[in-house]
């Protein structure tokens, strides 16, 4: 075969490969807001994170504004410390905002919902959300309910 045809074929093949990588980046993995630069860190302490995972989304009024980047145990307060990356365009969160762990969908995927407070001071990079609401743990709820019924019956 002519070398020219070969070269055209190989060129098209390389182009197809690069195009496919671009498609994977933009269409499939949705490379949108980067982890650095245009986002800032917030911390929140929860009594029980119950199934929240790294990469879970952080939402406000249902709109995704960031993601969870790390979860670890705080040694001093015995609480779960959740690190969040929040987009820079949402830089006007009051310090008394509330973070709660919520559940989406039937499969029970956990995410963090932030509700706005009324303070005039704003949360800065590295700030901690004080007001938190832990995840609803079904076992606890059922346990309390059962205990309640037993108590009532014994009276």
């Amino acid at each position: 075969m002519q070398i020219r045809t070969l070269e055209i074929g190989v060129g098209l093949f390389l182009l197809a490969g690069l195009l496919a990588l671009l498609l994977l980046a933009l269409r499939v993995s949705g490379l949108s807001y980067g982890a650095n630069g245009d986002s800032y860190k917030l911390y929140a302490h929860f009594d029980n994170i119950a199934g929240l995972t790294v990469r879970a989304k952080v939402t406000m009024a249902g709109v995704t504004i960031g993601k969870v980047t790390a979860i670890d145990l705080d040694r001093d307060s015995y609480t779960g410390r959740v690190t969040m990356e929040v987009e820079q365009r949402v830089d006007n969160l009051p310090t008394d905002s509330t973070a709660s762990i919520l559940t989406a969908g039937l499969l029970g995927e956990k995410y963090i919902g932030i509700s706005v407070g009324g303070d005039e001071e704003l949360l800065k990079d590295g700030g901690t959300i004080r007001d938190t609401q832990s995840a609803l743990v079904l076992e606890d709820l059922i346990g309390k309910f059962l205990l309640n019924t037993v108590n009532k019956e014994s009276k």
């Binding site: 070398i3 070969l6 070269e7 074929g9 190989v10 098209l12 093949f13 390389l14 197809a16 490969g17 690069l18 496919a20 990588l21 498609l23 994977l24 980046a25 269409r27 499939v28 993995s29 949705g30 490379l31 990469r55 989304k57 969908g105 039937l106 499969l107």
Partner: protein, 265 residues
């Protein structure tokens, strides 16, 4: 009598161990010579283009067809399971992650070993048995540079590209089945996928896997061809060995790489 037979068995075991080590050493030296040897050929680029065409472009049909069908089957199976839980939107995320992390690199590696690897072994083995390699040496051309190096580089370059193309057409096939035929809502199909697929963790790790597989498969294929017995039986044995060794290497390495990339240790 019994004692010698035990001793003889131990000797045979030692012999086979040494043989394996020797083959490993020879193949490593072979690879280093072919890739980093000093004497290059002047028309190296054209040789590479020819091999890229033979190894990469001619493998495209089988890669594309298997990619589409695997994506379609994944979507069909995933939908049937997920619809019981009312979360059939997650089918996009399932198809994409399965293809990017595992099936893209692995199935491409296996198909590549079968389609391109065996062809490389047979071609080089044939050259060896018809004494083309020694004729090249006679006229002062290094066969490692002229025959082997372009084939190695072509394999290294084309397999990652083939794996990426495999994943993309697989996701497209999955989208076709899930969205067009089964009626999953298109918006949630894609947004679920984009929420769960990370570029660095999933896409790039898949590409890294395919680079490793490309390296191993091409190396095995070319070395088996170069090292085979120069008879028709030897060539057929070498071709079989290429497919068996390369496939086993892909599957074994896949476990190790997955444990390193996605395991928690």
């Amino acid at each position: 009598m019994r004692k010698t037979s035990v001793l003889e068995r131990i000797r045979l075991l030692g012999r086979s161990g040494l043989d394996v080590l020797e083959a490993l050493g020879r193949s490593t030296l072979f690879l280093i010579h072919a890739l980093f040897g000093r004497t290059g050929t002047r028309n190296g680029f054209q040789l590479l283009v020819k091999q890229l065409y033979a190894v990469g472009v001619l493998s495209l049909p089988i890669i594309v067809v298997s990619g589409v069908f695997i994506g379609m089957v994944l979507a069909l199976q995933g939908y049937n399971i997920l619809v019981d839980y009312g979360s059939e939107q997650a089918v996009g995320q399932m198809v994409a992650l399965t293809l990017l992390r595992e099936l893209g690199p692995v199935v491409t590696g296996l198909l590549f070993a079968g389609r391109a690897g065996s062809a490389l072994t047979a071609e080089i083995g044939n050259m060896k048995s018809t004494e083309q390699l020694s004729s090249l040496e006679m006229i002062g051309v290094d066969p490692l540079k002229y025959i082997v190096a372009p084939r190695l580089w072509a394999g290294f370059i084309s397999m990652p590209l083939l794996a990426i193309i495999f994943s993309v057409v697989g996701i497209w096939g999955g989208a076709m089945v899930a969205v067009d035929w089964l009626g999953v809502y298109e918006g949630s199909f894609w947004s679920n996928m984009q929420n769960s697929v990370q570029f660095t963790e999933d896409v790039l790790n898949g590409v890294i896997k395919s680079v490793v597989f490309a390296f191993v498969v091409t190396w095995i294929a070319v070395f088996q061809g170069y090292d085979c017995e120069p008879t028709s039986e030897g060539i057929s044995r070498a071709t079989t060995k290429t497919v068996v060794y390369a496939s086993l290497a892909v599957l074994g390495l896949d476990f190790i790489l997955t444990a390193l990339m996605f395991g928690d240790f």
